[in-house]
């Protein structure tokens, strides 16, 4: 897949590498090279955790990369030469893979889902002056570091929460009903705590109809969540707010069923509840939860194209956040390459700064970056599981269904 181009500039490095005598290292040091000829494909290094602890997410994101080629072509954008690298869910590997991709001529990097790994890559990108387009990673500090070559087309924790509040209120308005009390269960990891902290800070401003009676944090490595649900149920809250990940979302749902508790609504601020695996594993029991998450606008033309491409390449996989934002990172790369007219990383970074893509997938006006490299125009959605499919309830402009409310009791689903 990777062709190594020759360059004379690095001859002096060769002798040293040969001295090392390690086949691996030599093979990995093809000289840094910029293809200036227009028309040649832009070399995009994609870094994702495709093995190790985060393998399932990394491999899911990879699908968004794999289906991008055809769509970009249809949009009349230049083609990208993808260079894949697996970070193995390890910071050391993430950093050395980023260096290696750049040494092999990558002109732009995309990655890397996890905040820690993304930070490690961002530092390399910044130092080399190679643009990094972050597909997913919500930790706010990443775009607060004054980086000039790091761009994020994914909402920060604060933005996710803001839209979660707004969309909930829309849903409550449509249904004409709202819970008065809620209990919040959140995973105690980077994402979970950033939401929990933001919640404490932002909750008063939004005048939500309910009160949070208790916050319950649980360990990301927990195998058994029966205590957590027992504790939440005991609060007597009407609604359950869950900030979780895929495996915990499945476990939590099972415990809801087994402990015979059907809250008025499950409001999920984060991954898990809408994911393919959740729908497939739980079948009828997967119906009902409302996820308040970065999503796609089902009414946009490009969303339909992306959905079709995904359905063709991976039948049975329903489109979600991982695919959407990873694809949009590729879109940003191709668009910038076209406008820059050159693969020079600096010109590319300048072009990305002036990005204004309105024909896109995610909700909101489109893809554009502020001075910090953050797309602050992104809008979150409220989506609901319905018979193994996902429908969008809010915001109005990106909605395609009315909410089913309240949650159908788990023991009456046959």
């Amino acid at each position: 897949m990777k062709k190594k181009s020759q360059s004379k500039a690095a001859v002096s490095r060769r002798s040293f590498n040969a001295g090392l005598g390690a086949a691996g290292i030599v093979a990995g040091t093809a000289p840094f090279n910029i293809v200036r000829a227009q028309g040649a494909a832009l070399k995009v290094g994609v870094l994702l955790p495709r093995s190790g602890y985060q393998a399932s997410i990394g491999q899911d994101c990879q699908r968004g990369v794999d289906i991008s080629a055809g769509i970009l072509k249809d949009l009349g954008l230049p083609s990208l030469q993808i260079m894949n690298a697996d970070t193995e869910t390890n910071v050391d590997v993430a950093r050395s893979r980023a260096e290696k991709l750049i040494s092999e001529g990558a002109q732009l990097l995309v990655g890397a889902f996890d905040s820690g790994q993304t930070s490690a890559i961002a530092q390399v990108a910044e130092q080399k002056g190679i643009p990094l387009v972050i597909n997913i990673a919500a930790a706010p500090p990443i775009t607060e570091q004054g980086y000039k070559f790091v761009f994020r087309n994914f909402p920060t924790g604060v933005m996710i929460l803001r839209d979660a509040f707004l969309n909930q209120k829309e849903v409550f308005q449509i249904t004409g009903s709202a819970p008065k009390t809620a209990v919040m269960l959140h995973v105690n990891d980077t994402y979970g705590t950033s939401i929990q902290k933001g919640m404490a800070a932002m909750f008063p401003k939004f005048e939500m109809p309910y009160q949070i009676v208790q916050e319950i944090a649980y360990d990301p490595t927990a195998r058994d969540l029966s205590v957590e649900i027992a504790k939440a149920k005991a609060t007597g809250a009407e609604a359950l707010i869950a900030v979780s990940r895929l495996n915990d979302a499945i476990l939590l749902t099972r415990e809801l069923v087994k402990q015979r508790w059907t809250p008025m609504a499950v409001l999920a601020i984060g991954p898990g509840w809408y994911e393919d695996q959740y729908l497939k594993t739980l079948g009828k029991l997967s119906d009902g939860p409302i996820s308040l998450v970065p999503w796609y606008d089902p009414n946009k033309k490009l969303s339909q194209a992306l959905e079709a491409a995904l359905a063709k390449a991976h039948p049975g996989v329903s489109m979600s956040t991982n695919h959407v934002y990873t694809f949009e990172a590729m879109l940003v790369a191709a668009d910038a390459y076209k406008r820059a007219g050159s693969a020079d990383p600096k010109a590319l970074a300048d072009a990305i700064r002036t990005t204004n893509i309105t024909n896109n997938v995610s909700p909101g006006p489109g893809i554009m970056f502020d001075a910090k490299g953050q797309n602050d125009k992104l809008k979150g959605s409220a989506v609901q599981n319905r018979g193994g499919k996902l429908v969008t309830l809010a915001p109005k402009e990106a909605a395609n269904a009315k909410p089913e409310w309240p949650l159908k009791p788990y023991d009456k689903r046959g």
Binding site: M1, K2, A10, S12, R13, S15, F16, N17, G19, L20, A22, A23, G24, I25, A27, G28, T29, P31, F32, R50, S51, A55, G58, Q59, N84, D86, E88, N90, V91, D92, R95, S96, R97, E99, K100, I102, S103, S115, G116, S119, A120, Q123, E126, Q127, K128, A139, P141, Q145, G146, Y147, N188, D189, T190, G192, T193, S194, K197, D219, P220
Partner: protein
């Protein structure tokens, strides 16, 4: 002093060691950034492996939780930097006592109550896990949200603040590795070293000839923990972000000990050789598979694990004792 440290070492070994040192000293002039990154990892694991080896290789105490000391060093220095603007070297002066005291606490409990062997190993894992979950709740270091150090572009390398180009980190780690190597040699040649070996070989016999076993095991743990905490300080300033989930993870502890075990536990050069072998094997396999166009997540690790098996089956004492014999570098005394 120098004569005492080099006594019994074949001239050939000294020459090769010198050549390796000079090679590493000039490497950044020739190495590209990718090779440099790999070299930094090699030195990092050579250094931490050396520190771990003091406990296991010299004093015979198997620690599977060394990520604990890395994490304590990293978090102490980073938190002082973030909260009070205190630089890493002053931070190190705090980090070392923190790690050393923690090591002393664990050692005290374990050796007092005669917890040994696998039990001790599990105890060290338990404390590392304890710290992981604890730091996940520790608000002062930003709990599980992660502690971010401010990153900016630095016009010049500031060794005092540990801010700058990877080359600077490379030399800092090189200096640390060399010093750790010399320190270990000096320790091995001292009374302490001989007592350690006696304890490692047969604790009961050591006790019966009047060695204060508890005392010398404590020294090993404290030195090892203190040394490891420095690696943590470098880690914090190199990566600029810390997450308990990553820093204290068991897999970090395992990464630290793969090198010295593969290289040769209890040998001086084993941790360094092992670190080179492990990292080069990892990078080499990735590149090799890539060059065959194989992009299957996980396959590299499978081959890596298989090679690890072969090495440990074929060379149970590690690669270095075998290589030293082959090259005629073994010390004359044995």
């Amino acid at each position: 002093m120098i004569r005492r440290l080099t006594a019994g070492v074949p001239a050939r070994a000294l020459f090769l060691l010198g050549a390796l040192f000079v090679g590493l000293l000039v490497a950044p002039l020739f190495a590209g950034d990718y090779v440099l990154t790999v070299l930094i990892l090699i030195l990092y694991f050579a250094y931490t492996g050396q520190a771990w080896n003091i406990m296991m290789g010299f004093a015979g105490q198997l620690s599977l939780g060394h990520a604990l000391y890395v994490g304590l060093g990293a978090y102490t220095a980073a938190a002082l930097y973030v909260h009070f603007g205190i630089g890493p070297w002053i931070g190190l002066l705090v980090a070392i006592p923190v790690a050393a005291l923690t090591g002393a606490f664990i050692g005290f409990l374990a050796f007092r109550f005669r917890v040994a062997g696998v039990y001790f190993a599990i105890l060290t894992i338990a404390f590392a896990e304890f710290a992981r979950v604890g730091f996940d709740h520790f608000g002062w270091t930003n709990a599980s949200s992660g502690l971010f150090l401010p990153v900016a572009q630095y016009a010049r390398n500031d060794v005092w603040q540990l801010r700058g180009h990877p080359v600077m980190f490379y030399y800092v780690l090189l200096a640390a590795t060399v010093m750790a190597f010399i320190l270990c040699r000096a320790l091995l040649k001292s009374r302490i070293g001989y007592f350690w070996l006696a304890i490692r070989e047969d604790e009961e016999a050591a006790r019966s000839v009047g060695i204060d076993v508890f005392h010398y095991k404590m020294i090993a743990v404290v030195i090892s923990a203190a040394m490891t905490s420095f690696a943590g300080v470098v880690y914090a300033f190199y990566y600029n972000n810390l997450f308990p989930e990553q820093v204290f993870n068991i897999s970090r502890s395992i990464d630290i000990i793969l090198g010295p075990i593969a290289g040769g536990v209890g040998t001086l050069f084993g941790p360094i050789l092992g670190s080179f072998l492990i990292e080069i094997l990892g990078e080499g396999l990735r590149s090799l598979l890539e060059s065959f166009g194989i992009d299957v997540p996980g396959i590299k690790q499978v081959v890596f694990g298989a090679i690890l098996l072969l090495v440990v089956v074929a060379m149970p004492d590690g690669v270095w004792p075998w290589l030293a014999r082959k090259l005629g570098l073994a010390e004359r005394q044995k």
